[in-house]
Symmetry: D2
Subunit: 437 residues, 4 copies
C-alpha cells in the first residue's frame, strides 16, 4: 500500500467516541512506523458536541507531541472517507438508550440481556449492519483500496455482513484477545511477544486452547487460576475448576452467559430490580470522561479512560494498521473469513482466530487444537448469526424469528416471538428495513 | 449374502419384548422374500417369564400360519448369535424402573426428563452402550458376516458407538420415519412408495425438508397442518404456524423438547406432581399386553399392540432385512455413518438419512435441502453425543460432565454437576465403567 | 412432472441422426410407462435430407406399432422445444469432416487423435459447447421445466458447461456404462438388475471398482478376463493382466489412450498411413444405414444399426426418461454435478457416477471404493476440461493453450502451441468465439 | 524447547557431505541465537574418509572462529542421535553411482532420467525411505523431542513417509524456495524479508503464484523475465513467454521436465551420447571440493562450494533451527503435512508451502491464489508419490508398478513394466524390502 502523498489518511467513523484519545495517543506514539498525515474524525449530527470536545483534545495532543498530523472534524462522512488509507468504525446506532433496552427487555422474559450476546446482540446487529453497509458503499466508491477496521459490535456479525455484502477489505477487531495476552504476559513477567495463545471460535465466543509462555505450555496453570480471567464489563462469577480442567481450554468471559446462564440471569435481574444496568453505568462514566476532555489544559490521554471495559481497543487498531502498512508478518487475533480454518463452518463465516498480518492482508493460521466441546456451541451461535445477518439485510421478520428461536439462550419459540415483538417495536426508529415508510 | 443352509437365522436380543409378536408377524407375512428358517429369541434371566410368554405366542403364530420357522427361546446369547444372518436388538438396560428415573430426576432441576433426549437419554446411553458393545464382541467372533439391526435407544448414539468401537456391520433403526411416510400416504390416499420424504439430522432430531407425493411438492401443505404431525409418546403441543412456515421443514416431534422447552417441562412437572410419568403408563400397557399374550388361544398379533408408541418398529426391521437380503436397492431412512452427507459433521458420526439399501449395505443419499436453521442444533446435539459416547466407553466422569454441560437442554454447568451426581448414583448398578468394583 | 395434456412432448435436437430409429423403437416399446404424445425431430438445414429419411421411417414405425405418437419433422428448433417435457441432443457440429480432422491432425505431432479424448476432444468441445448453450437459452425460455438429456460428446464437458452456464435441468448420458452392465449380465446369464457395478470417474474416463452379480463380488473374475472388456470404436489392444490385477478396478476402454499411449498412437499412425480413420469408417456405415432407412417397406429398426459403436444410447435415454417420469428411484450411471462425491473435485464438476433417479432428478450415490491410482489422472483430465470449457465459452486462446498444455496426452507446451494453431485454424468456421467477425 | 544443559546438540546424518562446511559456517555465524554446544557428524563406514576430511575442516573452522562448539565425528549413529535437539539428514543411499543409474536408465526407454523426478526419483525413494525410517526409529527411542530436518531427496516423499510411518517431528527442506527469494531480492535490490513469494505445490513441483516486493505485486514482471528463473542442476531451456503469461504463476525449474518433456529428453539423450551425465559432473566437482577441504590451511568455507546446485541448503537449515529454537514466528517455505491447505489432497500428504515457524513447529499459511492449471498435475504426481511411498515401505512390486504406470512422465504401462524390471534389478543391493534374503 502506497501512502497517499507523504503520509496516510485515516478516517474514524464515530470519531466522537470517548475512546478516540487512546487512538490518537497510538498514532502519536507510532508515528515513525505509521506516518499518519491526516486524521479525519467524523460523527453524526447528534454527536457533534462530543465530536468537538474529543476532536479538540486530539488537536491539543497532536500539538503537544509535535507530530505533523492534521486533525479534521466533520459530519461529512464522504469527505472523510475519500482517498483514505484506513477507515475505522466505532459507533453505536441508537446510542446508549438502545443499549439500555437491549439489556433490560430480555430479562423480563427470563432471557440474558446483553449488548452483544443473545437477543440484545441481535437487535444491535439489526440496527448496525445496514449502517455499516452504507459506509461500505462509500468506501467502495471513494476509497476502494482502503482497509476497513471494524470495532463496531457485534463485531463478528458486522464483519461477516461486510464479507458477504460488500467488496471492502475489512477486518473485525476486539480488545479481548489482546487483553488476555497482556494478562498472561503480566502474570509471568514476560514481554507480550513471548506469549502465544491460540484462539478458537467466534467474536465474544472463543476458547483459548493453547497458551505458551516462552515456548512452554502454561494452559494447565491458567486453567487452575479460575478467578483470574475476567473483564470489567462481565460480572465476576467464578468458573467451576473441575469443569475448566476437563474442558482443557480457557473460555472467553462472554461464555459465562452460556455456561452459567442461570446465575448470570439472576445477577442481571437483581441489578435491574435495583434500577441499575450496565448501559447506565457506562453513561455516567462517559459523561465524566467528556467533562475531563473539555478541560483546555488537558493535552494527553487521561488515566481514567483505562477504567472502561474497552481497554486496548486502540492499541489493537494501531497495531493492525502498522502491520498492514509495513507488512510485518506478525501474528494478531482478528475476525476474518473462515476459509476452511474451522472445517464445519462455511468459508464466508467470520471467525476470531490468529492471523499473520501480511502487507496484503491477514492470513489465518491453522488451529493446532480445537476443543471438541466447543464445536456444537460455535455452530449453534453461528447459525443464529447467519440468520440474523440475513434478517438485518432484508428486514425479514421470518428470518429474525428463526434467528432468535435458534439462539441457544432463548428457551422456546414462544418466548422468541414475544421478545421479537417487543424488541422490534422498541427499536422501530432504527430499523428502516423492518419498518419501511 | 448366502442364506445359511436353506434359510436364514435371525437372533433377536431382547426377544422377550412386547414388540416381538409384530416382528414375528412380519417374518410370517414376508416368508417368501425373506426365508427365515430359525428365529432365536434371547433374553436375560430376569426377563425369562416374558420371554416364555412372548415366545410361546410366537410359536403358536408360526404354527397357525404354517410357515417353516423354528422358534428358539434361550438365555444363551452366544448360541443365538452363532452363525446368525441377522441380529436385531431391542433392549432396555435397567428396565422400566431406570426409565422412570431418567424421566423423573431431571425435572427436579428444571430440565426435561425424557428417555432418549437430554440427561435421561445420556444415562440410557451410559447404561446401554457397553452392553451393546459386548453383543458386538460376540457377533465379531460368532457371526462376523451378520448384519446388526439396532433398535435399542438412544439408537443414534448406540449406532455411532458401534461404528467407532467395533467391526460389526450395523444399522440403526427408528420407527419415526416410517411413521411419517404412513401418515402422509394415508392423508393423500396414495401408496407409501409414492411418498418421498427427505430426512435431515440425527435420530430423534430430524427435520423433513422435502415431501413429494406422486412427485408433487406437498411440504407447504404439511407445514400448514400443525396438529397432524405427532406421536403417542410425545405430548401433543401444537407447533406455532408462523414458525413452521418460516422454518421450511417439518420438525420431528422430539424437537418439541427443544423448540417448546418451557411448555414441555411444565407439562412434565404437572404429570409428575400428579404421580404420572410415561414409564408408568408404558408399564401398565405392557402388563396388559403380556396378559393377552398368555392366552393360549391367541395365535396372531393382537390389535392392542398397535396402541404403543413403537408402531412400525417391526415393519421397519423386516423391510430392511428383506432389502439387504434381496439387494432391492429401495430407499429407507436409516441411522448410518455420515461419510460427508452432512458436511459439517465427521465421517464417523451417525446420522438419520435416506439410504439406498444395496446387497452390501445402505448407501446414504445426498441431501437436496438442508434447512440452514437446523445445522447449529444438529451440531450441538452431536457434540453432546460424541462426548457421552466417549464417557460410556471409558467411564470418564469428566467426559460425562462435559457432555451434560454442553447439552442444549441443560442450562448451566452448575445444574449439570448436580444432575450428574444424582443420576450416576441412581444408576450405579448399571454403570460398571463408572463404578468399577 | 405433469405430462402436457394427455401425453409427453419430446424434442430430439439432431433428430436426423442414424441413431434415431433406436430411440423411436424405445418410445414404442415403453409407451405404457412413458406416454409420448408428440415426438419432434429437429435438425439443421444441411441435415434436412437425413432428417426426412429418418423421420419418415419413424412415422412408419409408429404406424406399424399402432401407438398414438405424432412425429413432427422440423428445422424450427424453438417450435420443437416449446413446452417440451424432455429435450434430447445428439449432434455433431461440423459433422464427420470435423471429426476426421480431430482424428488426423494430432498424430502428425505424435499425439493421440480421438474425437472425445485429447486435442480432438478439446476441439469438439470448443465447437459444440456454444451451440448447446444456445439450445439451453431456448429451453430456459420455452420449456423451463424440461429435462435436457445430453448425448452430445464430449458429454462430460458439455454437461459441466451447462451446469455452470445455464439454469436448465440437464443430465449427461453415455452408452458405455449400460454396455458394461449388459456384458456382465450376459457373461453370467443373469438379468441386468442383478448386476451392480460401481463407476468412478468422468465421462470416457471411468474405472469400475466393484462388480457384484447377485450380490457376489465378481471383480477379480472380470479383471482376469482382459480381452473381454472392449468397444467397437476403440481398437482392441489387450490389457496387461498384472497391471489390471494390481489396479483392482476395471478401466474404461477409453483409458487405453492413457495407459497404452504409445501402442494406441502407433495403431493410429498405421491406419492413417493406410488412408483410414475412424471417421471415414463411420461415414460409410452411416451412408449404408440411410440407404436402408430409405426403403419404404422398412417399418422397424434394422438389425445393422446395432453394429455401430453407439449401441444402447437410446435404451439409456428411454430408461432415464421413464425413471424421471415415474420416479422409479432405480440406479443408473449418469453424468451429473459432483457435489462432494469425489471429494477432490469441485461441486460443479461433472462426473460419471451411479445415481438414484428420483422424480425430481438424479441423486448421486456415494462411492464405496475409489481406486487410489485413479485420483491423479481424474484430476489431471478434469483440470484440462475446466480450462477447455472456459476457453469454449470465452473464446480465449490463452485458456485453450493452458488446457492443451495441461492435457496428460500432450507432451509439451511447444507441441500444444503448434497443435492449437493448426487445429483452431482448421475449425475456424465452427469457432465464432475464437474468430469473431 | 529447553536446550540441553547450556547448549544445543545437533546430529548431522550424512555429515561427510561436501555441503557440511556451509552448515558449519552457519552455526558459527549464528551462534548467538542458536547456541550449538555439540555438533555430531555421522556417516557410514564407506564414507569415513570424506567424513574425516570434512570433519577436520569443521574443527579448524570452529577453532578459527573461536566459538565453543565441540565437533564429534562418528559412525555410531545412535550415539550421535541420543539426546539431540536437532537431527538433520543429507544422504544418498547408493551414492553417486546409484544416481548415475537413475539418470541413465530411463532415457533408454524414452523417459526423463532425473534423480528426484520420474522413474529415477522413484528408485531414489525406494532406496532412501527405509533408511530414513530406520533413523526415525532411533530418534523415537533416543531423542523423542528432537526435530528432524530432512534434506534428503526426494525430500517431499521422504517427509510424507515419515509423517505416515513415524512419530518423529519432521520437516522437509529444499533450497529452491530460498533460492528464488534471493534471486528476487537481488533483482530488486531489497532485503530478502521484503520479498513475499507464495509457493504452491509439492517439493520440486511448485508454482509461485504471488511475488510481492515491498508489498507491490511483481508477478507480471517476473513472468516476463523468462530466462531468469533457472538452476545449476537443471538445463537452461527457456520458457515460452505466452505460456508463462497465461499460466499466471512462475513454475519451478523442475517443471521443465513436465512442460518441455520432449526438449529436455532430447538434451539428456545428447548428453548421454556424449558420455556425460549430471551424476558424473557432480562426482568431479565433489572430488575437487574434497581435495580443497583436505588442505590443513583451509579454515573457512571455500568459495567453490557455492558453484554446486545445492546452494543455500545450509542457510535454510540454520534459519529453520533458529526459528524453531527462538519461536520467531517468521515465514519459511517448508515441506509439511497438508492438513487442508490444498483442499484436494489428503491431510497427511506432504506439500511445499509457506509456514509460520512457531516454537512448537511450523503452521502452514493458507494460499491466496492456487493456479487452477496446477491442480491436476499436483494431484497426478502426488498420486504417484503415495503409491511409491507405499511400495518403499512394503516392498510391493505391484505398488511400484502402479506408481510408475501412473507417473505423468511414463508413456505407458508397457514402458513402466520394462523400466521397473531393469531399475529394480540394477538397485538390488539397496532394496532389501524388494529382495529379501
Amino acid at each position: 500500500m502506497a501512502p497517499t502523498k507523504q503520509g496516510l489518511k485515516i478516517a474514524v467513523i464515530g470519531g466522537g467516541s470517548s475512546y478516540t484519545p487512546e487512538l490518537v495517543e497510538g498514532f502519536i506514539r507510532h508515528h515513525q512506523e505509521l506516518p499518519v498525515r491526516e486524521l479525519w474524525l467524523v460523527d453524526i449530527e447528534p454527536g457533534l458536541r462530543k465530536l468537538n470536545i474529543v476532536g479538540n483534545l486530539a488537536k491539543r495532543m497532536v500539538e503537544q507531541a509535535g507530530v505533523p498530523i492534521e486533525v479534521h472534524l466533520t459530519t461529512d462522512r464522504r469527505a472523510a472517507i475519500a482517498g483514505a488509507d484506513f477507515v475505522s468504525t466505532q459507533m453505536r446506532v441508537g446510542m446508549l438508550d438502545a443499549r439500555a433496552r437491549d439489556e433490560s427487555i430480555p430479562p423480563k422474559y427470563g432471557v440474558i440481556g446483553q449488548e452483544t450476546t443473545g437477543p440484545g446482540g441481535m437487535l444491535k446487529a439489526l440496527r448496525t449492519i445496514p449502517v455499516l453497509l452504507d459506509v461500505c458503499r462509500d468506501i467502495e466508491e471513494l476509497a476502494p483500496n482502503a482497509w476497513l477496521l471494524n470495532f463496531t459490535n457485534p463485531a463478528g456479525m458486522v464483519t461477516e455482513a461486510i464479507l458477504k455484502y460488500s467488496k471492502v477489505k475489512s477486518i473485525g477487531l476486539c480488545n479481548a484477545p489482546i487483553g488476555l495476552i497482556k494478562q498472561v504476559s503480566s502474570k509471568y513477567g514476560v514481554a507480550a511477544d513471548r506469549v502465544y495463545a491460540e484462539f478458537v471460535g467466534l467474536n465474544h465466543l472463543h476458547w483459548v486452547s493453547r497458551i505458551d509462555v516462552n515456548g512452554e505450555d502454561k494452559l494447565d496453570e491458567m486453567l487452575a487460576d479460575t478467578a483470574g480471567y475476567s473483564a470489567k464489563n462481565v460480572p465476576a462469577r467464578e468458573w467451576n475448576p473441575d469443569f475448566l480442567r476437563s474442558l482443557r481450554a480457557l473460555p472467553s468471559y462472554y461464555l459465562k452467559y452460556f455456561y452459567m446462564t442461570d446465575a448470570m440471569l439472576e445477577e442481571q435481574l437483581e441489578s435491574l430490580n435495583q434500577g441499575q444496568n450496565r448501559a447506565e453505568v457506562v453513561k455516567r462514566v462517559e459523561e465524566e470522561l467528556f467533562e475531563l476532555y473539555s478541560d483546555p489544559e488537558l493535552k494527553e490521554k487521561p488515566k481514567q479512560l483505562e477504567q472502561r471495559g474497552g481497554a486496548y481497543y486502540s492499541e489493537a487498531a494501531v497495531n493492525l494498521m502498522r502491520s498492514l502498512y509495513n507488512g510485518t508478518n506478525d501474528i494478531q487475533t482478528l475476525n476474518v473469513a473462515n476459509n476452511g480454518i474451522l472445517d464445519f463452518l462455511p468459508d464466508d463465516a467470520s471467525i476470531e482466530v490468529n492471523c499473520v498480518v501480511t502487507k496484503t492482508g491477514p492470513l489465518p493460521l491453522p488451529l493446532t487444537t480445537i476443543p471438541p466441546m466447543a464445536k456444537g456451541l460455535i455452530h449453534a451461535v453461528k447459525t443464529y448469526e447467519q440468520l440474523a445477518i440475513g434478517a438485518a439485510v432484508t428486514g425479514s421478520r421470518d428470518l429474525a424469528l428463526q434467528a432468535l428461536a435458534h439462539h441457544p439462550l432463548v428457551p422456546s419459540v414462544e418466548v422468541a416471538i414475544k421478545l421479537l415483538d417487543e424488541m422490534l417495536e422498541a427499536n422501530k426508529e432504527y430499523l428502516p428495513n423492518f419498518f419501511p415508510q
